[in-house]
Assembly symmetry: D2
């Protein structure tokens, strides 16, 4: 599968390194807003041994239409900014190129634009695109249905400088219809990111805990999305949506083992 990446900040670089090391996707190019590093090789820049082309282009060099014709991809991965999609959206829609966007906090008009794109092509939109967090959210929703009488607490820990409640914690609260104000927010030192969903039963406790090690975790999430989106129908999808079939165990779950 040929993919292009837009956005080459800290997270974009981390994602690029995971993509280059994966045998399942082939990184065709990386797009940036600026001309910095233009036409440099991403594998070389990141010190990764890879035969994938992965040259860096500026959005000012070509219109997206031209870029997608010269260097066609099956999938565009977006770690740029809220504006990134305006550059390539129309071209992706027209040419049926799938989009995996990990931008958080799109304004409503951009969500509408995503829906417009999704009329003609496959779009995944997920602000926290790690496998672990998306798995925990679904699992927690299920456990809440199994044991609605439990008390659920969400605890998130991040580095001291992080100003607000984490967007991921808010998403968990929303998924479990819990008030955001009840999230316990721990800020200390250089903690990269911990999210715990605690279920208090009368006589037992279940803790679903996710610990981030580095930004590359987003890369594995992107790979998961890339592997599953092309099997899906045209439309707007979430990571949860792509993951749900794994939960439809049927009775075969037992038989397998």
């Amino acid at each position: 599968m040929k993919v292009g990446l837009i956005g080459f900040g800290k997270t974009g670089k981390a994602v690029a390194s995971v993509l280059l090391q994966s045998t399942e996707v082939n990184l065709q190019w990386v797009l940036r807003k600026t001309h910095v590093l233009e036409h440099r090789s991403v594998p070389e820049f990141l010190g990764i041994d890879s035969h994938e082309p992965g040259l860096i282009y500026s959005i000012e060099e070509y219109p997206a239409q031209d870029l997608l014709k010269r260097l066609p991809v099956d999938l565009i991965i977006d770690f740029s900014s809220q504006e990134g999609i305006l550059y390539y959206g129309e071209a992706a829609r027209e040419m049926g190129v799938a989009v995996v966007s990990a931008i958080s906090a799109y304004p409503p008009e951009r969500i509408s634009y995503l829906q417009y794109l999704a009329e003609k092509t496959r779009v995944v939109c997920s602000p926290n695109i790690t496998i672990g967090i998306n798995f925990l959210i679904i699992a927690a929703k299920i456990l809440k249905k199994i044991a609605p009488y439990t008390d659920i607490e969400i605890i998130e820990e991040h580095f001291k400088a992080k100003p607000e409640i984490s967007g991921t914690a808010k998403k968990i609260a929303q998924a479990l219809t819990l008030p955001e104000d009840d999230i316990k927010v721990v800020r200390a030192g250089g903690i990269i990111g911990v999210h715990e969903i605690l279920f208090g039963f009368p006589y037992q406790t279940v803790r679903l805990r996710h610990e981030s090690i580095s930004r590359e975790a987003f890369g594995n999430g992107v790979l998961f999305a890339a592997q599953h989106i092309l099997e899906r129908e045209v439309g707007l999808h979430s990571m949860e949506d792509l993951m749900l079939p794994y939960f439809d165990t049927g009775s075969s779950c037992l038989e397998d083992e």
Copy 2:
């Protein structure tokens, strides 16, 4: 729903107290091997305010057939020993009374006997009948399917005197097709029981952790089984089996929010 309980050791007592405090089942009687406490009231003995009959009988007083006729129940809950089922099995089979057995380590011939009973009535068999553990096992199986490249470690912690690997940890290992020898066994002080299933991704960690507080946790598991077994067909069921429908989220899972 009318229930009877066989077995009144430490765990049996804890389960009885949960049953008495639940509005969903009605404890008709408790059966013991010995004559100790015969005809005493369980609510009174446990100091629980309840109008449920709950008298204690000895298995020597009546044949099971007679007991089930005089004091009929929909469900027999078994926290006795490997032999308990021999007392009431035939009668339950004949009269179509459901059975929830929490006996661990049945020998093969007793499993065959359970299957024989299950030809004519509903039988649930679960050595660790807590909701938390059974949920974690299913969730872990799903996560393993989603991310087969992760390294999975099972860590269990119990009180110093517990001699062997916990049966629950073994069950988890079996469910995930991991070697029992790799289970990390922590023994210290008075820890009641902790089980953690750790999924190591390259750049993130997911921990599914269960902490037991007291034996009453089995009571909530029994209630769950009681609430779901009567909707099921005649046959042999596991807790996982009863829990699986909650995992069949369909796409409705997303719509709910």
Copy 3:
């Protein structure tokens, strides 16, 4: 060492069972406000095999002076109420009987009264008399001195029904001069009690974590106090005070090993 216990509620009973099972103290009597269980044997009541006398008396039966003459003890352990000390205080002062009080939230006038008693006898006053918590408080104070630039967070978890911030968490905050309002309070199900003091360094995290299993933990703290108070001078002492000598390692700490 002969000891007497005042207070026989849930915690008092738990402490009595630890005292009876210890070879280091000898439980002479238990005092209650009411006549309930009067003259019953505590070992028998608790089902513990012990040759210690341990009869139950009511404070209405004898004045404290008479009780201490008939059934002398070296130490009175107080798990009663804020008023308990008024019964035996004067007698303990006069006869030089040591006092270990685990009453939390004494009003100021009672603290003054303790100081008055401490003019003539040894008094330990500790609202949370577990070894684990008192150790963690001292250790945390030391780590704060070693690394004053770390961010410290206090997280406490208790059963849903517990209404306020735990007194222990407040004591930790006070010891580390942190605002009580910053304590993260988790309330869920039947959690008995967890306290975590988290130190966030820029590139590492230290967690000092205490998990309560049952009220008997107070019994082990009382034993520790009992073993150390008689070596101390007349006066008012805290658990931290009794524990501090273990921290004065000198350079011998290294040599030992």
Copy 4:
């Protein structure tokens, strides 16, 4: 305080970045075995805004004696290899330059050499030079003395590829006179490093837990050593040794509050 660093591998670079960002030490130079990056500026290479000189030299360029005369330092920090010390040892001894060595697994003859250097200058030798781990080791030794009846378990978690029991876990076991074979070794995914010392009391649990976030943690340990070694006498010191005075709380610990 002027410092020089020998060793510029991954950990050496991480330590250099912490040193450059600290106001308490001034990085004069970095020494490497090879000529790679020779005479490059470390602040520039690491992208850190700093006015400290920090040029890179090869050990082949000058004898240590000459280097220390041209670019004098108070302290040499060694993150090179077992051989590094042979380059600068004699010169440091003669000129009274202090040494902080973080080399793990020195062979016996090198330990003897360190002792020889320590006859004339201050030497700190610590294979795991983080503040957190060294604090936990001392704290654990103290808790073991307070509660010798507890069961202690050591659990360490690292990335899948790490082949053996961690050296740090072994050091903890040694400090607590526990058999190395009992260490529970968890290997999964990309876990950077977790060490937990668990104390099991009969009715409570204390967990002393250290989580590494990145190699820079060694930098903060080096700073701690640098700040304390110059106050000490000539001789061989360990991190524990430097940290112990913080544990000698005296009774003043209580008075502070």
